[in-house]
Amino acid sequence: MALYNNHLGNRAAKYARNTVIVVLLLLFALATLFPIYFMIMSSFGDPIEAGAVSYSLWPGKISLESYKFFFEFSEHSYRWLLNSLIVATAVMVSNVVFATTAGYAFSKISFKGRGLLFAVLLAAMMIPYQVTQVPLYILIVNIFEIQNTYQALILPSIVTVYNIFLAKQFMGSIPGEILESAKVEGANQLKILTTIILPLSKTVMAVMAILTFMDTWNTFFWPFLVTNTMDMQTIQVGLKNFRFANTTYFAPMMAGATISAVPMFILFFSLQRYFLEGVTVGAVKG
């Protein structure tokens, strides 16, 4: 990096500079990681009432009692994880399929009304979700009457504009000549999509899949609104209710939070590249 002058007069100065930088970054990293460390560490404590707990920064002992306590809180607690998995998987698959096809049509096929339709879609990204949440709730609950079903949890996010935008951005860089020659060879659009576009778009599809899965897994507000029995709740809603029911039990609360967060941590660390790549799409030209 040429922003930094790497030919400083003496080696000691450069060494000192880098040490200062790393120390500052580490301090900031500690502050960022502290809540997460605290959560995981405390979840291994015993499930005793908060009055008897003195919070410490080191694990006194490792016990899984608090996890047991969390799972015994409701007969549906395993079901919450399953529900989250079902909903997040369904939303992820439908987004990858439909956003990829739509993104392809918007970026590579010329059809009547393409520009207008895409502009209309993009305009939706400017609208705060507060505007749509009340009518959407009325639509799902009073008109379709499907509250407390998987459909209600999945359908509103069946394909998001953001994902279509992501796919379109990415596919814009695929040269049109390839598609032309495929057409000359007599391939129809479906064949072009499946044999040329999809293999070339693996990265963007992976990014889309991961970010969509994570967002859906973590979402709290919508499931909270449209579920009204415990067996249909997702893990986030379950955790929230657990929190309200057990305001005094500290370690089990942390166990619950850890259970809801750890699957995403595992996903993140195993597929880090796609996460970090997905963040910059649309923000940085490059």
Binding site: L3, P35, F38, F250
Partner: protein, 300 residues
Amino acid sequence: MAQGTTKIRNRLNRGDSAWAYAFIAVALIGYALFTAYPVISAFIISFQEYKPLGSEYIGFDNYAETFTSELFGKAVWNTIVYTVLTVPVALVLSFAVAIMIMPLKKWAQTTFKAIYYLPAVASGVALSVVWLWIYDPLPGGVLNQILALFGIDNQNWLGSSSTSMFSLVFMSWLSSHGTSIIIYVAALLGIDESYYEAADIDGASFWQKMWHIVLPCLKPTTLFLLVTGVIGSFQVFQNAYLMTGGGPDHSTTMVGLLIFDTAFKYFEFGKAAAQSLVLALMIGIIALIQFKFLGKDVEY
């Protein structure tokens, strides 16, 4: 000749439109049902007193109430305070961190980026659970314990209206900068090397390079993060809802949370729709102002 190619091209493109419409069908239906219809519906509901069995038109009453409501004013004020305290700090922090990450080796860069991004991976509910205990008002509370080392008395962080807003802001400082750091690093890597080389030849110092090269080159990125940050911050709802419920004494009630309460606590859908459209208008105006004053060289 040209005519010939056009003919062939037309023949080749025959049927493409049909395919295109098929490809976007699901997206359009989903959009029509779950975005377009709700937006139109919000406008209609905002002029009604909503009742499940036949709503009544009441003209601009909901809007009049929104604009004269003291609570709405307070919520707008809280939202502005929260935005002013979080967004610029997040920008400066992420910019500084991104600059500091630059001279490190590739693996160290990636590691730091991953660490800073980690809180964004955890769910808001999980984080709220942890932070509730960090802010525990008893002397044994984590933050109070840490501050006691510096001789600071223990505070009722979330339970007193003088510190509740700051507590939410502080939480945001430590858990929501991962995305902007990654974006800044990507933008820094995108700056053309030749600028630096030219500056080196002229004997520019590190700070001169920062001022004359990095800041101008990163202006679009900064504007992007500023606009999206402000837009996001104006919609903040979940964290305040989970941490304080808007209390104590409405000190952390922001517009997003107020709309939620109006709709799903008091079931005044008409009023909530009106409030949400006022919020949308405010966000639109603020975004326009930012674009107008800070340059138009940003592409989405």
